[in-house]
């Protein structure tokens, strides 16, 4: 599985960055039960400059709202009873969503579910390695590791704004620009963490119907 290595590497950077603040056990447990890089990094980004737990949890959960449309997208391809669908839903992840996608809104649920153990093991294993190495590394800033956060986020944002095989996503670009501006304006006047959450409200321009008729069809294809 070619994804195992990068997943472990990101998990490792999470462990390195989280353990000076959260200790050894909490980051590993978090990776094991939350199992979502974006949510964990988002929560950590709020905690490190001194934001509170409620703000950190909100940022983490907002980062994971993308799973709502993904869940609805895979639902028609599922078989079996309620419990089985529930557990298949819990193992959903960005990478498995892409791995299971068969085009035209169809998903190979088996491929999607089997991607889970590999990804989970690399993610948790990477975190353990990061936590173990954190003591040797010391202050993450000394190695420029604090830059991992924004660059990791950019790696998620750029493909969303400028997809490889589709026209650039104008609305997402507008929203990203608005959110950046809101964050810059609010940072000097509010507590850490608040600007990020207020900026997320830029998404509300989605309430307006899109101008191009095909923009809406894309929304289920986030990955």
């Amino acid at each position: 599985m070619p994804l195992a290595l990068p997943i472990a590497a990101v998990g490792m950077s999470f462990g390195i960055l989280a353990s000076p603040l959260l200790g050894a056990v909490a980051p590993i447990l978090m990776s094991a039960v939350v199992w979502s890089g974006t949510a964990q990094f988002a929560a950590l980004s709020i905690l490190i400059p001194g934001g509170g737990i409620a703000l950190a949890a909100s940022a983490g959960l907002l980062a994971n709202t993308r799973f709502l449309p993904m869940g609805f997208a895979i639902a028609p391809s599922m078989t079996g009873g309620l419990l089985r669908r529930f557990f298949t839903g819990t193992v959903l992840a960005d990478a498995s969503f892409v791995i299971g996608h068969r085009g035209g809104g169809r998903f190979d649920i088996g491929a999607l579910a089997w991607a889970f153990p590999v990804q989970w093991l690399s993610w948790v294993g990477g975190t353990v390695a990061g936590v173990a190495g954190a003591a040797a590394i010391g202050d993450p800033r000394r190695w420029g590791l604090d830059v991992f956060f924004p660059v990791f986020y950019l790696s998620l944002l750029l493909p969303e704004l400028f997809p490889a095989r589709a026209p650039r996503n104008k609305r997402s670009i507008t929203v990203a620009g608005m959110a950046a501006a809101i964050t810059l304006l609010l940072t000097p006047v509010t507590a850490p963490g608040v600007p990020v959450l207020v900026a997320a409200a830029a998404a509300l321009i989605g309430l307006r119907p899109p101008r191009q008729p095909n923009a809406q069809a894309r929304t289920g294809d986030e990955a």
Partner: protein
């Protein structure tokens, strides 16, 4: 203690969002405007996190070694360098600048 609350909230919330669709199933979809807003939450939030991680220090807006590191990472990503490699490149530039200044 607070950390455990955070972990539990994140874990439960994530499972909830992943499973609402599959459990309801039946081809039902959330209302279109809601779907559009949800699809835009990620770019908004992520963009805000990038700005926070690059240009802020507590309540201050700053341009320091991180900006250079992130710029290098952005250029690398633009030319389709894998994310982990781009992170290492950005981090290295930032660390070297901090040593130099």
């Amino acid at each position: 203690m607070k950390t455990w609350i955070l972990i539990i909230a994140l874990a439960l919330g994530t499972v909830l969002m992943k499973t609402i669709g599959p459990v309801l199933a039946g081809g039902r979809q959330p209302p279109a405007p809601l779907t559009r807003v949800i699809a835009l939450v990620a770019p908004a939030l992520i963009s805000a996190l990038i700005v926070t991680g690059t240009f802020t220090d507590g309540r201050q807006l700053v341009i320091d070694a991180r900006a250079a590191g992130v710029a290098v990472g952005a250029v690398a990503l633009w030319f389709r360098v894998p994310a982990v490699l781009a992170m290492i490149m950005g981090g290295t530039v930032c660390a070297l600048l901090r040593l130099a200044i």
